[in-house]
Structure formats: structure tokens, C-alpha cells
């Protein structure tokens, strides 16, 4: 008899029912507390609902008809409460308490051997009557479901919500909370812990409305979840709370608002300045796409507030960390990666051992998790190094005030994109170059007030600085509405300094002429004034920026102004490189040292004092063939056409002769290991796509070797 399913279920009914009833009563106490304190606890009402819901099914299954009926009606009442159709008043809570007591009595009776719940017929009948009354009153006065507001939900999301979840979503919209989608990927083995951690972080911030699982990744060891969260606080607060969990936070899109994670405002057409019309350069220059002029965004006037009040709260939540400590952490992560590789070695041995196959699988899995966490850790440390450019901009605005007073000019300083983030070290190194650039704008760009007035310009000159992130780079534009660069003066100055001869000057494009300003000693000022005497040449600015793998470009329009565009990597861990081929080998050349590339025929090469040279706009450019420098054996003959990549180290120029330009790529430089580090001409290695490892050339030592500059003779 006891083998019948119904009997087996009955044996288990009592303990579970008692547990549910206890939970139910405990929840009621909490709900009452919250009600008195004026707090709303939708999650808890839902829990109470779910407990009687289960009790109903259980009671029905074991034939306890009265308990089933009573819990059904309690469930109905709580359903209306959780959907906000009935208010959870003292009267309603009293009814629920009574029901809880009655459930307890029935369970006790059963425990003492009663075979049915008939003993509490009277009590439950009385309670049911009052329940029906409460439910009837509720039905008359329920309110409409709130609308979606401006949120845009896709149908597939709504279709998967339960009625309650949908209601909670609407309630969050009604309350004007922000709605977010938190995307998280969990390993099957650790999902419980991971999700618990995520819930813990989210709990104080708002309400998790639903969990949407997906198997998009296709990785059977992973589960991806989208949590829909409603929270009253700002997005940044949630972002901060979730830091380090490796989850992606996205605001739920709203109609008529921009979507996606903080995008820079769309660039407005440049005011005044047009990209200088260019003659085609004398030879192909595929190496310079990074220098394409980019439209500047002159944003609505944002006057600088000198003293920014930072809140006490944010100060107390910040710790100052010596950047060397972060470097140390980064190194530790590197060492951990090595240790992980060691584990992999052990694992490979284990795999061979058939008896330990199970162990090997487990270890394999753990090693994979470890590897992924290490990657996350590395990313997190890089993130910690990031600081907003606003730190430098604030300093600059004080400098602008000072310089403009000294120069007797009225300057409006416009800042945008101060929130753009950059590696802390880069930000530190940037402040001097930026200051020089801005000083130049004020000293040489902006005209004296009386000149401006005559020209019909506003008396106050504008200097604007705008930063924005583009992929792995940050672009900073410094623009003035001053007099513009004087082409004639630039060319004259360059000729005087011996960079150009008169004939070659005529061949230059406008852009090339403007770029003369980055040559040492070249200036638009014929006589050094007091101010320019103190200023630093743009060549120094450019050199300093090159050290940061930064690239600077200039555009100008006579009478309308000048714009300097600065492109920097977000972090020095990633650099831009030109991928080239020479004698059948592939190399990467850091783009920061590449000035331009030329196409040459074998006849263009001359020999002067046993050195090969080519002519570059009237200048003699020493060249070095990569295959000669590295003594590479070439299969077949040299191609008739070659490329010359003009590289520079400070004022020195050398042409690297190569066979082919492959393209431009962001790379991570890796060391060749202690034994091979420091080989002249080799800066390290990097991995291009498809497991291809290539060497990164060290331009500085190649230039030194070719020219014999620096200490002593060039080693050959």
C-alpha cells in the first residue's frame, strides 16, 4: 500500500507543509513591520504568495480539501496584493495571520494522526467568508496597470515575463526608476556563487525584476543571464557597485534618447575651419591614415568653473594609490599567468594517465577558470589606472587665466569631454605638452583685442579643448579662433633653417607646410617676442608626444584659426604599428616613429660615401635595407619597386627600405625573454591574427646604427 505514489507523497507532505507554514508566518511578521514603518516590500509579498501557492498544490495532492481551498483564496488575495490591486492594510494582514494560525492547527492535527482537515471546518468556513468579503472589495477598486513610459522593450522580453514580473517592471517605470540590463556569463560550476555575489551587490541598489537565461555563447560550460534591474540611483552608482564582476551594464533604451553606453556627442561641423584642400602628395603615403583630419566638435559654450566643488561623499570613497603599486600588481598577474602555464604542463601529463582522466578533466576546467579570471584581473587593473582627463583640463583652465592676463587678451576657454579616461601615466605626461599647445594658441593664435575688433571678430578669443574616445585611442583637439598659421612665414623659416630649399618649398601641400611647425626652430614669428621666447617649440611638443605613442596633426585657415589634433593610445600597453614585409619576413614598426612612407624604384637609390641614400624633397635621406641590417637571406631577386618607411628619432631621419606595406594594426609588445631582450633593432614581439608571431622593430637603435649617432661608431 505504502508504495502508492499518493502515500509516498503524504509521508513527505507534513515536513514540507510545516516548513512552508513557518515561512509564511515569518514573512507576515516582516510584512507587518514594513507596513507600520511605511516601507514597501514587493519581493516579500511575492514570497508569501509563492509559499501559499505551493501549499495549495500540496494540500490538494494529499486530499486536504479545506486547506487547499483556504490556501487558494489566500493565494488569490496575495496575488492581488503583489500586483498592487489590493493594498496590504492592517485588516488584510490580520486575515493572513489568522490563516497562518489555521494552517498551523491543521498541520498539527495531521501530525497527531488526523486523516483529514475536517476538524477545522468551522474555523476555516468563518475565515473564508471574511476573505471573500476582502476580495470582493478589492475587485471594485483596482487601478489600471501603469504604462511603459518612454521605455522600449522588445516583444521577446515581454513575452517571457510572468504576470508578476511584468507588473514589477511597470511599477518600476511608474516610480521613475532607471531600468538596466545586466549581462553576466557564468560557469556552470560556479554559477551559484557568482549569481549570489551579483545579487548581493544589486540588492541595496534596487530590484532585480527578472532573470533571462540564454545559451547564445554556445559554450556548454557557460550560462549567460540578462538581469533586468530597476534602480533609483544613477547609472554610475550601479556601474561602480558591479565593478570587477565582469558583467556588462546597459541602460534599457528609451524612445527619443541616445542608447548604448556613453557615446560622445555627434561631431558638429567645424566652425570656421575647413579641412585644408590638399594637393595629392608627391608619392603614395599609406602610412598616414591616422592623420586624416577629424571634424571638431565645438560644443555649446561651457564656461569653466574654476573651483569645482567635489562632494565629500566621493572623496571618502576614493583611495589614493601609488601607480607603482599598480605596476607591481600588473607584474604579479603576469607571474600568475606563468604559474598557470605550469599547471597546464602538469595537466598535460595527467591527461596521458588514463586512471586520472576524471581528475584531469576537473583540473582542466579549474585551470580554464583561473585563466579567465586572470584576464579579468588584468583588465580590471588597467581600468584602475584610468583617470578622467578633467584632472588636466582643470589645471589648464587656471593656466589660461594666468596667460591671458599676462598677454592682455580676453580668452574664453571651452572644455568638452573632460570625462574621457586615459592611463594615469599618460595623463601626467600630457599636461606639459597640452600647456605648451594652449600657450601657443594664446600667444600666437589669438590676435590682440583691437586687431580682432578691426577684423569684425568677437573681442574675446576662444580656445577650445575637446577630448573623446575612439576605440583604443583618445583624440584631443585644441583649437583657437585666431589668426591661423602664416604659410609664407613657415616656409621662409624652414628654408632659413636648412630644412628645405626654395624649389622644394613650392612642391609642398598646404598640410605639409603646416606640419613644418613641428621641425625644431621653425616658427611663424620672425622675431622672438617676450612671450614666444618663453614658449616651447612645437618640435618639443611633438617629441614628447611621440614618447607616449601619440601623433599630432595641425590644420589651419588664415584669419579663422588653427586646430591641433592629438591622438593617443588609451594605455601604453597597446601601441599602433605599421605591419611590413621585408625579404619574406613580416615585422611591425611602431607608428609613433613613422613619419611617412614613399614608393621608390631601384634607380632612385644613390651611393654617397659608401652609404645608400635617396632624395626626399631635395633632402638627402640615408636609407638602410632591413635585410642588410639583419643579414637576412633573401629568396630570389630584390623587387624593382620598394617602399621606404621614413622613421625619425628626434631630429634624425632614416629611410627603412622594405618590400611591402601590409597595413596598420594595434599591437601589444611582448618581451622575447631575458635572454634575447635588448638585441639592437628588436623591441620585442607581438602576435598578429592567426597565431602569427612577428618581431617589433626598435627604430631608435636602427637609426643610431645607420647614422652612427650617439656614442661611438655604429656597430655593423
Amino acid at each position: 500500500m505504502s508504495d502508492r505514489p499518493i502515500d509516498r507523497a503524504l509521508q513527505e507532505f507534513l515536513p514540507e507543509a510545516q516548513e512552508i507554514i513557518e515561512t509564511f508566518n515569518r514573512l507576515l511578521l516582516k510584512l507587518d513591520e514594513d507596513r507600520v514603518a511605511g516601507r514597501a516590500a514587493p519581493g516579500m509579498i511575492n514570497e508569501a504568495f509563492r509559499s501559499v501557492h505551493t501549499l495549495k498544490a500540496l494540500a490538494g495532492s494529499v486530499g486536504l480539501a479545506r486547506m487547499a481551498h483556504l490556501s487558494h483564496r489566500i493565494e488569490d488575495l496575495l496575488d492581488k496584493c503583489r500586483l498592487d490591486k489590493v493594498e496590504l492594510t492592517a485588516e488584510v494582514i490580520d486575515l493572513l495571520f489568522e490563516a497562518g494560525e489555521l494552517f498551523q492547527r491543521i498541520a498539527a492535527d495531521i501530525g497527531q494522526g488526523a486523516s483529514s482537515d475536517g476538524g477545522s471546518a468551522d474555523a476555516s468556513g468563518d475565515l473564508l467568508a471574511r476573505l471573500e468579503g476582502a476580495l470582493a472589495r478589492a475587485d471594485s477598486g483596482h487601478r489600471d496597470e501603469p504604462a511603459w513610459g518612454s521605455y522600449v522593450f522588445d516583444a521577446s522580453l515581454l513575452s517571457v515575463l510572468t504576470e508578476y514580473e511584468e507588473h514589477r517592471l511597470r511599477e518600476n517605470v511608474r516610480a521613475g526608476r532607471g531600468l538596466y540590463r545586466v549581462h553576466a556569463a557564468f560557469d556552470l560550476a560556479t554559477i551559484d556563487v557568482g549569481l549570489e555575489a551579483l545579487k548581493e551587490r544589486l540588492k541595496p541598489l534596487g530590484e532585480v525584476i527578472t532573470y533571462l537565461p540564454s545559451s547564445e555563447s554556445g559554450d556548454p560550460q557557460q550560462i549567460e543571464l540578462d538581469l533586468i534591474v530597476g534602480a533609483p540611483g544613477p547609472e554610475s552608482e550601479i556601474q561602480a557597485a558591479l565593478a570587477g564582476l565582469g558583467v556588462v551594464l546597459r541602460a534599457v533604451p528609451r524612445a527619443g534618447r541616445s542608447t548604448g553606453p556613453q557615446r560622445a556627442p555627434a561631431p558638429t561641423p567645424p566652425r570656421g575651419i575647413q579641412a585644408a584642400p590638399e594637393r595629392p602628395p608627391p608619392v603614395a603615403t599609406p602610412a598616414t591614415p591616422a592623420l586624416t583630419p577629424i571634424a571638431v566638435a565645438v560644443l555649446p559654450d561651457i564656461e569653466v568653473v574654476e573651483e569645482r566643488v567635489t562632494s565629500i561623499k566621493s572623496a571618502s570613497q576614493t583611495v589614493r594609490v601609488d601607480i607603482r603599486k599598480l605596476d607591481h600588481l600588473m607584474n604579479l598577474v603576469g607571474e600568475l599567468s606563468l604559474a598557470r602555464t605550469g599547471i597546464q604542463g602538469v595537466l598535460d601529463e595527467l591527461k596521458v594517465d588514463r586512471e586520472r582522466a576524471g581528475l584531469a578533466r576537473t583540473l582542466h576546467h579549474e585551470a580554464r577558470v583561473l585563466g579567465r579570471k586572470l584576464d579579468e584581473m588584468q583588465a580590471a587593473i588597467i581600468e584602475v589606472r584610468m583617470v578622467p582627463l578633467g584632472q588636466v583640463f582643470d589645471k589648464l583652465s587656471r593656466v589660461v587665466r594666468k596667460i591671458s592676463r599676462e598677454a592682455g587678451k580676453d580668452i574664453r576657454f571651452v572644455i568638452s569631454g573632460a570625462e574621457t579616461e586615459l592611463d594615469k601615466l599618460l595623463v601626467e605626461e600630457l599636461s606639459d605638452p597640452l600647456m605648451h599647445m594652449i600657450r601657443n594658441c594664446i600667444d600666437h593664435g589669438i590676435e590682440p583685442p583691437e586687431v580682432r575688433a578691426q577684423a569684425g571678430k568677437p573681442v574675446a578669443g576662444t580656445v577650445a579643448i575637446a577630448a573623446s574616445q575612439r576605440g583604443n585611442h583618445v583624440v584631443i583637439e585644441v583649437e583657437d579662433d585666431g589668426v591661423g598659421l602664416d604659410e609664407a612665414k613657415l616656409v621662409r623659416s624652414a628654408v632659413e633653417r636648412g630644412y628645405l630649399d626654395e624649389g622644394a618649398a613650392g612642391e609642398l601641400s598646404r598640410r605639409e607646410i603646416y606640419n613644418l611647425i613641428f621641425l625644431p626652430g621653425v616658427s611663424t614669428k620672425v622675431a622672438a617676442t617676450e612671450l614666444s621666447g618663453r614658449g616651447v617649440g612645437m618640435d618639443v611638443v611633438k617629441t614628447n608626444l611621440s614618447r607616449l605613442s601619440g601623433i599630432i596633426d595641425v590644420e589651419s585657415e588664415p584669419g579663422l584659426g588653427t586646430r591641433l589634433t592629438l591622438t593617443l593610445p588609451i594605455t601604453l600597453a597597446i601601441i599602433q604599428a605599421l605591419v611590413i614585409r621585408a625579404a619574406g619576413r613580416t615585422y611591425a614598426v611602431p607608428l609613433n616613429s613613422v613619419l611617412e612612407s614613399l614608393l621608390i624604384q631601384s634607380g632612385d637609390v644613390r651611393t654617397i660615401e659608401r652609404r645608400e641614400v635617396v632624395d626626399l624633397r631635395g633632402q638627402t635621406l640615408p636609407i638602410v635595407r632591413v635585410e642588410d641590417a639583419f643579414r637576412l637571406r633573401r629568396e630570389g631577386a630584390r623587387p624593382k619597386k620598394s617602399f621606404v618607411v621614413v622613421v625619425g628619432l628626434a631630429q634624425h631621419r632614416v629611410g627603412l627600405v622594405i618590400d611591402e606595406l601590409i597595413g596598420q594594426q594595434d599591437i601589444v609588445i611582448k618581451s622575447l625573454g631575458k635572454s634575447l631582450d635588448g638585441i639592437p633593432g628588436i623591441a620585442g614581439a607581438t602576435e598578429l591574427g592567426g597565431q602569427q608571431t612577428v618581431l617589433v622593430l626598435d627604430v631608435a637603435t636602427l637609426v643610431e646604427e645607420t647614422l652612427g649617432v650617439g656614442a661611438g661608431e655604429a656597430a655593423s
Binding site: 619576413r585 643579414r631 611582448k670 634575447l676 635588448g678 608571431t693
Partner: protein, 176 residues
């Protein structure tokens, strides 16, 4: 006394088990045996991190000829040494059985190109003989001792010596 059954019906006693594993007072070491240029060599297994198939190395200029180049193994770039050339054997094409042994010195990794990986043997420390002063060629520099495995002589290599080599270095650069 408990016994354990084996799939073949043999019964080994716990005692016999312990006797076999315990009664060896001489410290033993395990060596990975591999061949290079027709000779068998051994390296202490503890120095070997992994054994991988040969993959194309990226040529590095200005290094001794026995350095084939660098390869990237799990994101770490490491030099690969051709043991044939390092041990003064004749160069030969790389065969299908050739492997890279990934070995470690401190926290640095190296790859060693070998013709074939044979087996792992245990050698008691008392079975290792000092290398004779004159061996064929000059490779004696790299041999730390001679062991015996299944009647064959095995040259146990001095790994640290093999991994010690010089490359040209750029002068320390002065700041621009």
C-alpha cells in the same frame, strides 16, 4: 590484512605494495630521454614544463645560429634552441617525430628542438657516472653525467649550460 584485486585475478597484498614502493633507500630521479643526432640524451623531468609539436618559429636576427627563433606558447614568447646545432651535431631536416621540449630556467621559458622523444626513466643517483674528460666532439661541455637505461648509455644534459649564451645588446639608451 586487506587485499586488492586486479583485473587479471592477481592479488597484491598491501604489504607487498608497500615493500615495493618503500624499500628504496637510493634517491631516484626521473629523466626524459630523447634523441638528437642519433644520440640519446636525458633531462631532469622536473625541468620540463611541456612537450609540444614543432611549429614555425619567427626568425630573430643577430643571435647565435643554434637559436631557431621565437615561438609563442600560450601567450608567452620564448626562444627555441636547435639542440642538434647546440650539441654540435650535423644539421638535418626536421622530421615528423620532432618536438619542442619547453623547459624553464627561473621564470624564463625556452624551447628545445629534439628529433624524437623516447621515454621517461628512473635513474638512481648512485648509477650516474661522471662524464669522461673526452667524449666524441666537444659536447662534453654540456653533459653533466652518464646514466644507463636498458643497456643504453644516456647522456644527462647540463641544462643551465645549454641555456647560457650571449647575444649582442644595444647600449643603454640615453634619454632624448
Amino acid at each position: 590484512m586487506s587485499t586488492r584485486g586486479t583485473p587479471f585475478g592477481l592479488v597484491a597484498t598491501e604489504e607487498a605494495w608497500h615493500r615495493r614502493t618503500r624499500a628504496e633507500p637510493v634517491p631516484q630521479r626521473e629523466y626524459l630521454i630523447f634523441s638528437v643526432g642519433g644520440e640519446d640524451y636525458g633531462i631532469d623531468i622536473l625541468r620540463i614544463r611541456e612537450i609540444i609539436k614543432v611549429r614555425p618559429a619567427t626568425e630573430v636576427p643577430r643571435v647565435p645560429s643554434f637559436i631557431i627563433g621565437v615561438v609563442s606558447v600560450r601567450g608567452i614568447v620564448l626562444p627555441v634552441i636547435d639542440l642538434r646545432l647546440r650539441l654540435h651535431h650535423e644539421p638535418a631536416p626536421v622530421g615528423a617525430a620532432a618536438r619542442y621540449l619547453i623547459v624553464a630556467r627561473d621564470d624564463e621559458r625556452f624551447g628545445l628542438l629534439v628529433d624524437r622523444v623516447r621515454q621517461v626513466v628512473r635513474v638512481g643517483e648512485n648509477e650516474i657516472e661522471a662524464p669522461p674528460p673526452v667524449l666524441a666532439g666537444t659536447e662534453t661541455d654540456f653533459v653533466a653525467g652518464i646514466g644507463r637505461s636498458e643497456q643504453r648509455l644516456v647522456l644527462l644534459l647540463d641544462l643551465d649550460h645549454i641555456l647560457r649564451f650571449e647575444v649582442p645588446r644595444a647600449r643603454p639608451r640615453s634619454a632624448p
